[in-house]
């Protein structure tokens, strides 16, 4: 077993990278689980090598179904592992057995649902209804923002009370109430008549 994960100190570190922040370099060694928890966006080649070197993808599937080179362009599968670049359009089919789990990891999907070239006969789509996905993503944000926003307002409220600015406090309390019910509609209303923003734009004018 190699190096232990710096975060949990239990599992083997499988993701190794150097972080550049404010000009300082920090080396990090994390296991899959902690890396995922940290919601890291890794440079693709490093992510890829983790996945194909036995991190995520099942090695058996790899050895069974995947040719060692692409029959069309001759790209060695090992080369793809090392560089993260495919050699030609045919590589996608040739290496499909290992690409699909990889695509699942990277895109959380492995099938195209977007535009096709106008000259391409239109595909029989087994597309998930767009409605489902369209709502799913933003709702997550809305919920997150609602709680963020409520937190922020609560802090403001505490400050306002401390400063004995009761008028502002009352306003903030109303805004927090407006955020409490989590139905998207009421939230939408709440953000539209946002107190601070209105105040802000009035101030802008007087600033001129």
């Amino acid at each position: 077993m190699g190096k232990l994960c710096q975060c949990c100190n239990q599992r083997e570190a499988k993701i190794h990278f150097t972080e550049l922040k404010d000009g300082k370099k920090t080396e990090m060694h994390l296991c899959d689980v902690c890396a995922q928890e940290k919601n890291m966006k890794l440079a693709f080649p490093s992510l890829l090598s983790t996945l194909v070197k036995g991190g995520g993808a099942a090695p058996t599937a790899e050895s069974e179904a995947v040719p060692s080179v692409c029959p069309k362009c001759g790209l060695a599968y090992t080369d793809f592992k090392a560089k993260g670049r495919l050699g030609c359009p045919t590589c996608y089919d040739a290496f499909a057995a290992v690409l699909v789990p990889l695509l699942e990891k990277v895109h959380n999907a492995s099938a195209h649902t977007g535009k096709a070239p106008p000259h391409e006969p239109s595909p029989n789509l087994e597309v998930p209804p767009p409605q489902e996905r369209r709502v799913a993503l933003p709702e997550k944000l809305e919920a997150m923002e609602a709680s963020d926003e409520a937190d922020r307002l609560r802090r403001e409220l505490a400050k306002a009370i401390e400063a004995e600015e009761y008028e502002l406090a009352a306003e903030l309390r109303d805004q927090i109430r407006a955020l409490e019910p989590t139905e998207p509609n009421s939230q939408e209303d709440g953000s539209q008549e946002d107190g601070p923003q209105e105040d802000g734009s009035q101030e802008d004018d007087s600033g001129l």
Binding site: K41, R85, P89, H107, K115, P130, P138, Q197, E203, L208
Partner: protein, 353 residues
């Protein structure tokens, strides 16, 4: 269009117009495409590269894209300074600037449309619009995409969509991004919270010059992370839901600062303006920082002696390659800082040209 003309103008997307332009500088969409009958570039021979380049150019010619008002630059024949210059203007990517072999870029006079050939993929079609106009930028790229589709056969599979050299771009091959100016969120340290929520929903945050660059001067690019299993509409939709929220948040905090900390804010803005008007040597980083404060000041009505278009342009025109082209020679860091300071003073109207 003469390439030299570029020095005296700037991209139309920098003019400070467009929806939400106080906060959203620009919206950019790029589509990655490859020709079906050629290997991707890492496996292509020099002859194949040239052939790809030629057939793309021929098709663009046939579509009228190379008529008047367009410029074409062959980067293989160009010096490093030219590549850097185009990179600074957001006309080419870092990958194309640093690449080797036969490659080039075609762009129109407004610099809102740029078509890169032999980048990581055979084709990268890019459109930039001022303000929050991701949908319009996407429509611009589709015009080119559909136009070319009649003449070139793109690598496309029903299963995986548009096939790209790197599997992170496969599917739609689409990256839509908006450049946001978020000084108030940075100033009040709210920015990390915004990024935490944004990255959770598959959006990526990058700096002023895209991938791998640090955000500087309070500018951030937000773009879709995922290209497969989502439609182009989904990608635009996601941005259209998220960006207005960030914009509202930034405005709210600006309003708060105006009502609670106006003096501190005014002080920051005017000091920044003072430095830019009087400095005799100034680094790129310091310039970005102060221009950001001035931009905020103009948008809040604290400062009216300069317009937004001038401020926006200065972000680009004060970059190293622009200064060197202006002087027509290589400049070391010290010389650049002096030239930059003079250039800024002239643009802010204090020194005579």
């Amino acid at each position: 269009m003469d390439f030299e003309d570029l020095l005296s103008q700037s991209g139309e997307w920098l003019r400070g117009s467009g929806p939400e332009s106080d906060i959203v500088i620009s919206s950019r969409v790029r589509l990655a495409r490859n020709l079906a009958d050629f290997p991707f570039l890492t496996r292509a021979s020099d002859e194949q590269r040239q052939e790809i380049h030629r057939s793309v150019r021929d098709s663009l010619d046939a579509l009228g894209f190379t008529e008047n008002g367009h410029a074409y630059v062959n980067l293989d024949d160009s010096d490093e300074l030219t590549s850097l210059f185009l990179l600074e203007r957001h006309l080419i990517s870092r990958e194309l600037a640093n690449g080797i072999g036969d490659r080039g870029v075609l762009f129109n006079q407004s610099e809102m449309l740029a078509i890169m050939v032999n980048e990581e993929d055979h084709l990268r079609i890019q459109a930039i619009r001022a303000g929050f106009q991701a949908r319009e930028a996407y429509a611009d790229t589709v015009d080119v995409d559909d136009g070319l589709d009649g003449r070139l056969r793109f690598a496309f599979s029903r299963r995986f969509g548009y096939l790209t050299a790197c599997p992170t771009n496969v599917g739609t091959g689409m990256r839509a991004s908006v450049m946001l100016h978020l000084p108030a969120l940075v100033f009040t340290k709210q920015i990390d919270k915004v990024f935490a929520s944004v990255t959770k929903i598959n959006l990526a945050v990058r700096g002023f010059y895209g991938e791998g660059t640090q955000a500087s001067g309070d500018f951030y690019q937000i773009s879709n992370q995922v290209t497969l299993g989502v439609s182009e509409e989904d990608i635009l939709d996601l941005l259209e839901r998220v960006v207005p929220r960030i914009v509202t948040y930034e405005r709210e905090v600006r309003g708060h600062l105006m009502s609670k900390e106006k003096v501190r804010l005014e002080d920051k803005v005017w000091r920044a303006f003072g430095v830019l008007q009087s400095a005799r040597a100034i680094s790129s980083e310091e310039t970005m920082e102060h221009l950001s404060s001035v931009r905020l000041g103009v948008n809040l009505g604290l400062l009216d002696s300069v317009d937004i278009a001038t401020v926006n342009e200065l972000f680009i025109l004060t970059q190293p390659a622009h200064l060197q082209r202006l002087k027509n020679r290589d400049l070391d860091t010290g010389e650049r800082d002096a030239v930059r300071a003079g250039f800024i003073r002239r643009h802010l109207g204090l020194d005579e040209v």
